[in-house]
């Protein structure tokens, strides 16, 4: 069995992303178990300096595909490269982050490698001589342990795997491809920016979510949602929402947490005015610490919460913001 692990390290703004470094950390730990090397793969122009630093985060070798064809994201362009490098490095496992980009191209790359995909994994390790990956299914209502007959292709959930601190002198190798922009089937032509600086609920370390209990932001709930935003700003958190809130058009659907929204695992999840439908609980019960604020002390959300306050969101949320601000100041 081959022993190397190829890790696609996602970059943004000419730097590896946190999720990309987390995947590299997982790749290094897996490579150590296998007795092989972790090979980091980066794409795009202008990353030479960053590529040279990856030995500090678990890379034994770095491959850089700096060609102009990788300046703009293409699902098939990236899938083709990763498939090519998986073969070239004789990888036993190919890893990337379970981000909108990683989920998109890794499925295509795995299929090109005639393999399945272990998507959105929360653990990966060698057991009994096989690579086993653990992935939440049914939005976290169950955990599946999976293995592959050959190479294991996997995407790793952000904020679950630790970044490695290593002192490896990792050489950087330039990777060439035989195709150019004209050969691609799909290329991103334009990126329409969402709200600037907005944190994504799937990637944030802290999420504060609002439910129907906050009421209509265009009516009597206006102050409640402003209060929730203030709490989020104070904590550096992303704002999430329940399905009822999204279906009512109160928040964009990208904010929805739950089985038909995003599955999140932040270190702190604060549910405000959310009763806790099974679909919502499934999407957030992987959070490290859960706080619930609800006026109804029998609400199902209190069954999964580590800490709860029974009370009106109108009063409790501003009091929480003030208390957090004081603690964070000291």
């Amino acid at each position: 069995m081959s022993k190397n692990v190829l890790v696609y390290v996602e970059c943004a703004d000419l730097r590896p992303t946190k999720a990309g470094l987390q995947a590299l950390g997982a790749g290094q730990r897996l490579a150590r178990q296998l007795g092989g090397e972790a090979v980091a793969l980066l794409t795009g122009p202008g990353l030479e300096a960053e590529a040279a630093k990856l030995g500090a985060h678990g890379a034994n070798k770095v491959q850089l595909a700096a060609a102009e064809v990788f300046a703009t994201y293409s699902q098939d362009g990236l899938a083709r490269l990763v498939t090519q490098q998986a073969a070239a490095t004789q990888a036993a496992a190919v890893l990337a982050s379970a981000t909108p980009m990683g989920k998109d191209f890794m499925a295509r790359a795995a299929a090109a490698g005639k393999a399945g995909l272990a998507a959105d994994c929360t653990d990966i390790k060698v057991e009994g001589g096989k690579i086993h990956a653990v992935r939440p299914v049914y939005a976290g209502k169950a955990l599946a342990t999976v293995e592959a007959a050959g190479v294991l292709w996997a995407t790793l959930r952000p904020n679950v795997f630790a970044v490695e601190a290593t002192a490896i002198s990792a050489p950087v190798e330039n990777v060439n491809v035989s195709y150019g922009p004209g050969d691609l089937k799909s290329v991103v032509r334009e990126i329409v920016q969402g709200v600037k600086g907005k944190l994504d609920v799937a990637e944030a370390e802290i999420v504060v979510s609002g439910g129907r209990g906050l009421k209509d932001p265009a009516g009597e709930g206006k102050q409640n949602w402003e209060n929730l935003e203030k709490l989020a700003t104070t904590l550096g958190a992303a704002v999430g929402a329940s399905r009822a809130v999204v279906d009512a058009g109160w928040r964009p659907h990208g904010d929805q947490v739950g089985q038909t929204g995003k599955t999140v695992s932040p270190k702190l999840y604060v549910a405000c005015g959310i009763s806790g439908a099974i679909q919502h609980l499934a999407g957030m019960s992987g959070s490290k610490v859960i706080v619930a604020i609800n006026k109804d002390d029998t609400a199902p959300i209190f069954k999964v919460a580590d800490y709860g306050i029974v009370g009106m969101v109108e009063d409790v949320v501003p009091a929480l913001t003030a208390a957090f601000a004081e603690t964070l100041k000291s």
Partner: protein
Amino acid sequence: MEIIVCIRRAPTTDARIKPGPDGKTYDPAGVNFDISEYDKFAIEAGIELKEKHGGKATVLSLGPTVSSKELRTAIAMGCDAASLLVSDAQHDAWATACALAAKLKTMPHDLLLFGWNSVDNQAAATGQMVAELLGLPCVSVTVALEVKDGVAHAERLSAHGNRERIAVKLPAVITCQKGLNKPRQPNMKGLMNAKKTVIDESPANAPANGVVTVKLDPPPPRPAGKIVGKGPEAAKALVGLLHNEAKVV
């Protein structure tokens, strides 16, 4: 335009999922099934595009014979024909994509629509895999779609609420996300249609799974929590616990 919508029969999202006696699959007792949530956006997109550009929307699924219920729902919404690749096995995204691609090679197609993710297996992979197997372009997680002069103009939801605009030549694969449209309810005419539609059934030609489930476990139980107090007066105590006990802030 020949549109094919690929759908999956999956446990409803309110289902309680418990590992079964084999420890690898879930116990189906008491579980209800429906069209996987996101596939409904694909069905609606297919019907809207057919209504606008003419042509035919065919719905295709891989699953047990009882999946004819979900296929008939798609017909009742407005699809024209239905095909079922019959299999009682649990297939992963790779095996599903291979079986679908084998069938799709025999069907004329300009546009292949999928839900971006399934609510059960949640690999979010089948659409991209079919695209690779058929050598087609693919846009996943699509929240806006227009077809003009043989080109699909799509917007996909990316990180941080950004949207990526991508134009791909038909034939193409598009996977659909919430926000693309509002799936319609079947009307009386649709329901009558669904009743008399003959579903084209054939055995599925699927390879072994790419990833094999060796174990299915319930999620670790969360330790019992505590109610810190009532009303805004409890806020300080709560923050104190988060800081000193849970150490998350």
